[in-house]
Subunit: 226 residues, 2 copies
């Protein structure tokens, strides 16, 4: 039974990859760079987007907001005048714990690709399944909050192994935690040696300039010559 389940999972991932390639082709044609933005619940994805929204000179940001239910995060970003498309996994998708390429594809007609340069897809808060499904992204960014403990790279290795940038958030809380950041970085390097990482605090703004500059570089890389 377990072997059958593994095979079904593999077939589903193959189908997903085909649709992800179609999404990627659409994004490339529109000259839009796409970030798959992932973390555990409450790690600070939306807060880190609020910090950079309105401060990306020459780059028009759009957000595709993935949630099981509700539009709380979308409302926060819309208040910053970012075009946001809400994608709920509850109605029609069975309450999925992640976004997959087909869900993203179903939302594309509502994403104003011609009017943006950078699309950040805020995935469902979860460190397991979002890492398994490509959605057509150029890069993957994950947020790991220092409040979650140092051991997370070892417990959720696929997430940490497949991302291009790790934002270590809430570093303003370090004085109040029993958290050894060198231990976290050691575990991070053991699953993804040398992966780019930034210490940030969405609350105080520490490190946010580096995060914004990183996004600007990603958007520039994708820019279609006029």
């Amino acid at each position: 039974m377990h072997r059958t389940r593994v095979r079904i999972v593999e077939d589903a991932l193959d189908a997903n990859n085909t649709i992800a390639q179609a999404n990627r082709a659409d994004f490339d044609r529109a000259g839009v760079a796409v970030v798959n933005f992932m973390s555990a619940p409450g790690a600070g994805k939306t807060a880190l987007l609020e910090r950079v929204a309105g401060d990306l000179p020459g780059v028009r940001l759009g957000v595709l907001e993935g949630d099981v239910q509700g539009s709380l995060d979308a409302d926060r970003l819309a208040a910053r005048h970012v075009p946001v498309t809400q994608l709920n996994t509850d109605p029609g998708f069975g309450g999925e714990c992640h976004l997959d390429a087909n869900m993203v594809r179903s939302a594309l007609p509502d994403v104003p690709l011609a009017e943006i340069d950078l699309l950040v897809v805020e995935n469902v808060g979860n460190l397991v399944c979002p890492a398994e499904f490509r959605i057509g992204e150029d890069v993957r960014v994950m947020v790991s909050s220092v409040t979650e403990g140092e051991d997370k790279p070892l417990k959720y290795p696929l997430m940490f192994r497949t991302c291009d940038l790790v934002l270590v958030n809430k570093v303003d809380l370090l004085p109040h935690l029993d958290y050894d950041i060198s231990k976290f970085l050691h575990h991070l390097d053991s699953v993804h040696p040398g992966v780019e990482r930034m210490m940030v605090s969405a609350r105080t703004g520490e490190g946010v300039d580096a995060w914004r500059d990183w996004l600007l570089r990603i958007a520039a890389r994708e820019r279609v010559p006029a």
Copy 2:
């Protein structure tokens, strides 16, 4: 396609419930009370178990430890002389983001039911899918860390709605956060009115006595007359 997916999910949940009932019958026969213990990654489940292990007079605790990979949490609890059974979802189960009744059933031969009174099943860190799968538990306890923000009951309503106790952990950090606990409790009551809740800190020990006493009551409820 989405409707088909929803139907497949429903069929899978029916099959899961059947196996959950078989698990429950085994637990009842052994006079073991079972807690399905859930939270987001890093909310403090293991730390809250470490706090009460060895301090449950008359109640023999056992733990079934669910993780995608590794045995870090099991090792921490084994160090407290708690009998721990490790259940990894990665090999054989396709890296599932939750425990289901069949996975728990596959681990039961390794759980010393005759030698324990209370089994805590530490689920995979995830606020979505673990809430969908009964495993044969008597009660569900979830941990919500104050560092995750006040909006989590609205974003993950099934988890908050189906639990019997909410442990609001890391309250020692409240002075350092922009977290309005009355807002959290308002959201909690909007999805699960009046659900039992406790403010705790695994770090300082605040509220841990109440959590221990709650576990003692659950174990006493299940006790088979000698």
